[in-house]
């Protein structure tokens, strides 16, 4: 701080005749102010509360501002008439932090007085600066204050906290009582809209989360700005005396949160020696050591102290968000209104009795129902299913019920079926977020509590472990909308992933080990899975899948970064550890989300591309090596036991005979219950040579056919399906060593024949069995149906690609076909293959929109297809498919 003489004041300017006494020189005032500041700091360090400290700093500033203002007036021989000094913003509210700016407005009675006082103002500001105060000033005439400056909303908002400091009090009264009440009332919609925008922009800048590892205690969500914005929202909503229907407990929590954060911000200013509000790791340690803001003097670990910080930050942030939601000043856009209407119609399909959609948010209609936890859980399931967020008010109501013992809860245990529904929905993050805020996620999954607000110091991670985890899930759900360049490849993987619930549960648990005293966090996370699986009663297959995902959750990222992913040996080794296509898809999504949630920059387009390349190479490896890895049933002791137990009949030898020689992929795409059902059909083959089964699935029906191999079997079955007007979406065909074929077709019932007439299922099966057993003619069935569907032009044109591969399989030629999907397509392709004497050993049939993607493993007379046969087949298929 400089104590230089002030030109025109205590050097060279004769004292005015009106002066009663000489102004105190800077050489005296400066050290006095500094000594006073040191005293306040020492007092804070000895335990004086932040509230008192801020007040003392404010008193000191007020005193010096008034004294210097009086001195300058006297030196320049002026009266203050027509000029007053007004404290704004935090200073106006008497919350002046050690190194914060003094926000001061110079209010002039007219343009003329502004001109006259200009030299005085500049002298005054310079002197304050020399005394160590950072002044951020603005000057306005009374007339100017009547107008709203549309490009300077911050100024008008700061003016809400006005306080007279010095000068012409009549002028201040005019502003405070006559000018501003009118202009503020008129400008309220504008100010509210601006405040919303400024606040939303700030929250977005900080990733809309309080859970930063090194938060900024002023600007981050949950910081002091949240508190300030809430106050302004209340003021603009004309609720200066208190938030409508705010409870005393909520007021108390807000007050204690403000005290804690104020103490933290004071501490940061003093330690940094400037207005730096970043709570760095080093300062977290120092704050924890002195139990800052807690007041009992008992040192905490940095993690424990940060948990306190996040608890208070959450209180301030929650209050702000509730106000932002309640007082939305901007009318909804047409798109938003349409979205809301769509959500409303979705919700009405569910249980409209207890909740409804208003302004695109789920609201609770019947508060008394919330003591039944099953109803509360169904509310979260609706959020996850429809993509409709829970309103803050609904969240508050649930929170109220949760903490009041006079409302004893019923059905507190969330069954795995309900959790599974939430996790497997399109928007799981929309349910899990409020569940976490309300503590319900930790009730359902206590293991998650180990990472609640947990700071793990790491050069790359930006968020606490729980925040990172929830972000992984949100990044996946964002794939359903319009992701950026990095996510484009992964959209289809997310949309087509089966059993997403297992993937999401794996994500919830993948880093839980970081909250355990273990050397490798994966070990801890697997232990957490053990306890969660037991409590949730997961099936062994479900647990195995989640276990594999957690165990390998770093493998894909490590392979991408440390191995040559263009080397076939790397791909083969990686594929071996992943074991099957479905797990690869989940692991790829998990890795994408895990890297993405480290920090906003972690997933570079470069890394996303590498990840995608590894996925594609491994996926192709799986589909080209399907027949290499076949089951040797004798070695699968545990599987044999489980199948036998599910089937409830048959000997182990029989099960072995059935399973022997199926490709291992058969186990990946069918559950043990399904395999047991297949075994049941196998046992009935002696009674009837073609066994069929039809079951309803989530997206349509599944047809299973078990029969000894015969020519054109695959094309015949697909022909019957086409004849009945069924659209095949997916299919697989496997054969065991004994030549028993197991074909599964997943199809959509386009005309709802089976759905609306359950009796037709029996007729459909009979018709299929008749055709397979030579008692019925396929041609008759197909005639009417195919001609009815011919001639419709496709909405999206797909170019046909036919590719043969002789190198991937030891015994078969691979035929990969991508073409325009249409009814009866599979039957036509299968017939062409059968006509040319090709036997389908394995088939994988899939569709993606209007595109059919099929892989056939073919032999002709037990051998690979010759080059001539491949050419002939290509010609025939091109003719069929064009």
């Amino acid at each position: 701080m400089t104590t230089a003489a002030r030109p025109g004041w205590n050097a060279g300017v004769p004292p005015s005749k009106n002066m009663q006494e000489s102004p105190t020189p800077l050489s005296v005032l400066g050290p006095q102010a500094e000594a006073e500041r040191q005293k306040i700091r020492q007092s804070f360090e000895l335990g004086t509360s932040a509230r008192e400290t801020l007040n003392a700093l404010c008193e000191l500033a007020d005193h010096d501002v008034r004294q210097i203002f009086d001195d300058v007036l006297r030196v320049q021989n002026r009266e203050a008439a027509g000029l007053c000094l007004i404290a704004l913003g935090g200073y106006g509210r008497r919350m002046l932090f050690p190194y914060s700016d003094l926000d001061i407005l110079f209010l002039f009675g007219s343009d003329k007085t502004e001109q006259e006082f200009r030299p005085l103002i500049s002298e005054f500001s310079r002197t304050l600066w020399d005394l160590g105060f950072r002044v951020s000033s603005a000057g306005r005439t009374l007339e100017e204050c009547k107008r709203i400056e549309e490009d300077n909303a911050e100024f008008h908002l700061a003016l809400l906290d006005r306080r007279l400091l010095a000068g012409d009090s009549t002028l201040f009264e005019k502003l405070d009582e006559k000018v501003l009440p009118g202009s503020e009332k008129q400008a309220r919609p504008f100010l509210l809209a601006q405040l919303h925008k400024l606040t939303r922009d700030r929250l977005t800048r900080y990733g809309n989360t309080i859970f930063h590892l090194e938060p900024n205690v002023k600007e981050s969500p949950g910081g002091m700005r949240d508190y300030q914005a809430t106050i302004w929202l209340r003021q603009l909503a004309e609720e200066k005396k208190g938030i409508g229907n705010i409870t005393a407990a909520e007021e108390e929590m807000c007050s204690s949160a403000t005290d804690f954060l104020s103490a933290t911000r004071c501490f940061l200013h003093y330690n940094n020696g400037r207005n730096d509000n970043t709570l760095t790791y080093e300062l977290q340690e120092a704050a924890a050591e002195r139990a800052l803001g807690i007041g009992d003097g008992v040192a905490r670990t940095p993690s424990d102290w940060m948990r306190q910080y996040f608890r208070h930050a959450r209180t301030l942030n929650r209050q702000l968000l509730r106000y932002l939601e309640q007082k939305a000043p901007v009318p909804l856009t047409l798109r938003q209104r349409l979205m809301n209407a769509a959500r409303t119609s979705k919700i009405e399909a569910g249980d409209g009795k207890y909740f409804q959609v208003r302004d695109g948010l789920l609201e609770v209609v019947d508060l008394s129902a919330l003591s039944d936890r099953a109803i509360t859980y169904s509310l979260f399931a609706e959020c996850a299913r429809t993509g409709t967020p829970l309103s803050r008010e609904a969240e508050r109501s649930i929170g109220y019920v949760l903490i009041h013992p006079e409302l004893p809860p019923k059905n507190t245990e969330m069954p795995w079926e309900t959790l599974r529904e939430i996790l497997g929905s399109d928007y799981p993050g929309l349910a899990l977020r409020p569940m976490q805020r309300l503590g319900l996620l930790m009730e359902v999954l206590p293991e998650f509590g180990l990472i609640d607000s947990l700071v793990v110091r790491d050069f790359y991670h930006r968020y606490t472990v729980d925040e990172h985890t929830l972000r992984t899930i949100e990044h996946l759900q964002e794939l359903a909308d319009s992701p950026d360049e990095r996510g484009a490849h992964f959209v289809q993987l997310w949309k087509t992933a089966e059993r997403r619930d297992l993937l999401i549960l794996a994500l919830l648990l993948h880093d839980v080990g970081k909250g355990m005293p273990v050397e490798n966090h994966v070990t801890g996370s697997l232990a957490a899975l053990d306890s969660a699986a037991k409590r949730l009663k997961l099936s062994p297959e479900e647990k195995t899948e989640i276990q594999a995902l957690i165990e390998h959750h770093l493998d894909m990222s490590a392979t991408v970064q440390r191995r040559d992913i263009f080397d076939p040996a790397t791909v083969a080794g990686f594929a071996e550890s992943v074991t099957n296509q479905e797990r690869l898809q989940r692991l790829c999504l998990l890795t994408y989300a895990d890297i993405h949630a480290v920090n906003p920059e972690a997933l570079t387009p470069w890394k996303a591309e590498m990840l995608w390349q590894l996925f594609v190479a491994t996926s192709n490896y799986f589909s080209r090596t399907l027949d290499r890895d076949r089951l040797h049933a004798h070695d699968e002791v545990s599987l044999l036991g489980r199948i036998k137990a599910f089937a409830g009949a048959g000997s182990t030898q029989e099960v072995e005979r059935f399973l022997e020689g199926f490709p291992r992929r058969y186990l990946a795409v069918h559950s043990p219950e399904e395999i047991a059902a297949h075994f049941g059909l196998f046992r009935k083959l002696s009674e009837e040579p073609a066994q069929t089964q039809v079951a309803a699935t989530r997206h349509g029906f599944a047809l299973t056919v078990l029969t000894p191999d015969r020519p054109a079997l695959f094309s015949t079955i697909s022909g019957v399906l086409a004849g009945w007007g069924m659209n095949i979406n997916k299919a697989d065909a496997f054969a065991n060593s004994a030549g028993i074929i197991l074909d599964t077709f997943y199809f959509a019932d386009l005309h709802r024949t089976l759905e609306l007439n359950p009796g037709e299922i029996t007729r459909f099966r009979k018709s299929l069995e008749d055709v397979l057993n030579g008692k019925g003619a396929l041609e008759t069935l197909l005639k009417g149906r195919v001609s009815a569907t011919r001639g419709r032009s496709p909405k999206v044109a797909v170019e046909t690609r036919i590719n043969f591969d002789d190198s991937s399989s030891a015994h078969c030629t691979l035929l990969e076909i991508v073409t325009q999907d249409r009814p009866g397509l599979l039957h036509e392709m299968g017939s062409s293959l059968a006509r040319l004497g090709c036997n389908i050993e394995v088939a994988l049939i899939d569709t993606e929109g209007h595109k059919a993607i099929d892989v056939f493993y073919l032999t002709a007379q037990g051998k690979k297809l010759t080059a001539q046969k491949q050419e002939l087949l290509r010609e025939v298929l091109q003719g069929t498919l064009s």
Binding site: Q561, D564, M610, Q613, A617, V798, N803
Partner: protein, 112 residues
Amino acid sequence: MMKLEAVIQPSRFESVKDALREIGVEGMTVTEVRGHGRQKGHTEVYRGREYTVDLLPKIKLEMVLPENLVNRVVDTILKSAKTGKIGDGKIFLSRVDEAIRIRNEERGENAL
């Protein structure tokens, strides 16, 4: 002083970094880059879509070294980045006139 730029296989980056650390070189700038030299890209087909990878992912290392360390660093990178296959990358060397440490304005090799 010499500036060294090395474009290497991403899979060799950890080994190169460890080897450099062993000879006392810790400071470097690392960039994820894409490109190709004689190693052309390739085409991969997934579900009927063709993905042409004509620009291959590489890692670029940049460091400025005192003259007496240059040969050692080059040898170390050669040993640790080489797989013998096409696409192992390249090392470029160029002269640097001056280096200045922003914190204390030290200049020359002292600033490295």
